[in-house]
């Protein structure tokens, strides 16, 4: 039993078909519990009032926006090294989800920032690097769209993903250098003193789990769609030849 078995599209389709409903259901449960608990059963914070509750959307989506890119990077590396088509398709499937997460994080941040910082947008390092991440996602998706041959597209986007990762990281630190921050520090940390207090922490963890599962189920679903569309294209080609 090795993870490489799932490089076989058939095996992947079988297993993901079984797993997908469970993951989706679990994602729904976690999101419902986490968000309801977060929105309705936590007290307002002293300095922030009810606005603190946007944390249950903002933090998980921001985390997933970054993790989606990391997942794409790993999938791209696997594609370049071992040439497993499922891997390339998974990277392709993750990109729009990651982009959406980035946009959710930016939007909820703006909605929170308006009453709290008095502005929808500030050129703060974190905000700016997120905007740059959005641009990287857009470029990546545009390259997938532009190239006709699926294997060429997978190769080119993988190379772009690797180079982009380096530059995204570089930009992150360059932006730190460029402006001082307005954004607060990390909400989560292993050190209990650093993170938000427990009343908010537990529903936040549940929401994060929900977002991770949501991401997983969306990526599985989209990868399955990609595999099916690839099969369909192959069938059509075969029909035209015959």
């Amino acid at each position: 039993m090795s993870i490489w078995e799932y490089a076989n599209p058939k095996k992947f389709m079988q297993t993901s078909g079984i797993v997908l409903p469970w993951v989706s259901a679990l994602a729904a449960i976690c999101l419902i519990i986490g968000l309801t608990w977060g929105f309705f059963f936590t007290p307002d914070a002293v300095n922030f009032g009810a606005t603190v509750k946007i944390i249950y959307l903002h933090v998980p989506s921001a985390m997933m926006a970054i993790n989606a890119w990391v997942m794409m990077l790993i999938a791209s590396l696997i594609w370049l090294i071992r040439r497993h088509h499922v891997s390339a398709l998974a990277a392709k499937a993750a990109a729009p989800v990651g982009l959406t997460m980035t946009l959710i994080a930016l939007l909820t941040g703006a909605i929170w920032g308006e009453p709290m910082w008095g502005t929808w947008w500030a050129w703060d390092p974190r905000l700016t690097s997120f905007l740059i991440l959005t641009l990287f996602y857009l470029g990546y998706l545009a390259l997938w769209q532009a190239v006709d041959n699926p294997d060429t597209a997978a190769d080119l986007t993988s190379v772009l993903c690797i180079v982009g990762s380096v530059f995204a990281l570089l930009s992150r630190y360059a932006v730190n250098f460029w402006n001082q921050g307005l954004h607060q520090g990390a909400s989560l940390s292993m050190d209990a003193k650093d993170h938000v207090s427990n009343i908010y922490y537990i529903p936040l963890l549940i929401s994060i789990a929900g977002f991770i599962l949501l991401f997983l189920s969306l990526v599985l679903l989209r990868t399955r769609t990609e595999i099916r569309s690839r099969r369909l294209a192959a069938l059509l080609l075969r029909e035209r030849i015959a």
Binding site: A146, V159, L160, S171, F177
Partner: protein
């Protein structure tokens, strides 16, 4: 390799090569921005470093799409790929040629445009240093974008979407050097970062560019 360099430079300088277009564009940016934001010298001095760098980025971008596309059209890129010289070296040479006909002239006229934008005197040495050390990175990174899009029929717009985000660190450090220099501060730190980006991307990116070209020629 030297003959390839000379060939690229000659092609770029001859009519239709687009030499001078980038320069003219750079000049236009420096003229249009004051027309847009008003002639207040203090404001202009403040935004001059940013405008000069953004202008340089865009001017560089103009000539990028022909970096490999023309060679791909007439088939000479296939010859270069099968030549005894490694494709990585070809990419480096072509980037160098691109820099010599765009980045270097930009560096030379940048002080004059700084004058137009009322850049304080103490900024000029830093301006030249930042452009001299930073613009090679623009060519190398741009070559990567051009390599990705070489197989596409209309790659120009996509090229800018791919390349401009990669230019962010160069832009930030480059403009920071000039800003600090203009304020009379020591700008060594961002200058070193800028040089690091140039050296790092010159060392590593041609490998990625060559890989992309091989994929596109497949």
């Amino acid at each position: 390799m030297i003959s390839l360099l000379m060939r690229d430079i000659t092609l770029a300088m001859r009519a239709g090569g687009g030499f001078g277009l980038g320069l003219a564009f750079f000049l236009l940016v420096a003229v249009l921005v004051p027309l847009g934001v008003g002639p207040d010298p203090i404001t202009l001095a403040k935004i001059a470093p940013g405008i000069l760098w953004v202008g340089a980025l865009l001017a560089c971008l103009l000539s990028l799409d022909r970096l490999f596309a023309l060679d791909a059209e007439d088939g000479s890129l296939d010859l270069l790929a099968t030549a005894p010289v490694p494709l990585e070296a070809v990419v480096v040479i072509k980037s160098l040629a691109h820099w010599l006909v765009t980045g270097l002239p930009l560096t030379v006229i940048a002080p004059a445009l700084g004058l137009l934008l009322n850049l304080p005197t103490s900024g000029y040495p830093w301006l030249v240093a930042a452009f001299g050390l930073g613009t090679p990175a623009l060519s190398v990174i741009g070559a990567f974008g051009a390599a990705l899009t070489v197989g596409l029929k209309r790659g120009g717009l996509l090229l800018s979407l791919l390349v401009l985000p990669l230019y962010v660190p160069t832009l930030i450090f480059g403009a920071e050097v000039i800003r600090r220099g203009a304020l009379g501060l020591d700008a060594t730190t961002p200058l070193l970062f800028l040089a690091g980006i140039t050296l790092g991307s010159t060392a590593l990116l041609p490998i990625a560019s060559a890989a992309a070209i091989r994929v596109n020629l497949r």
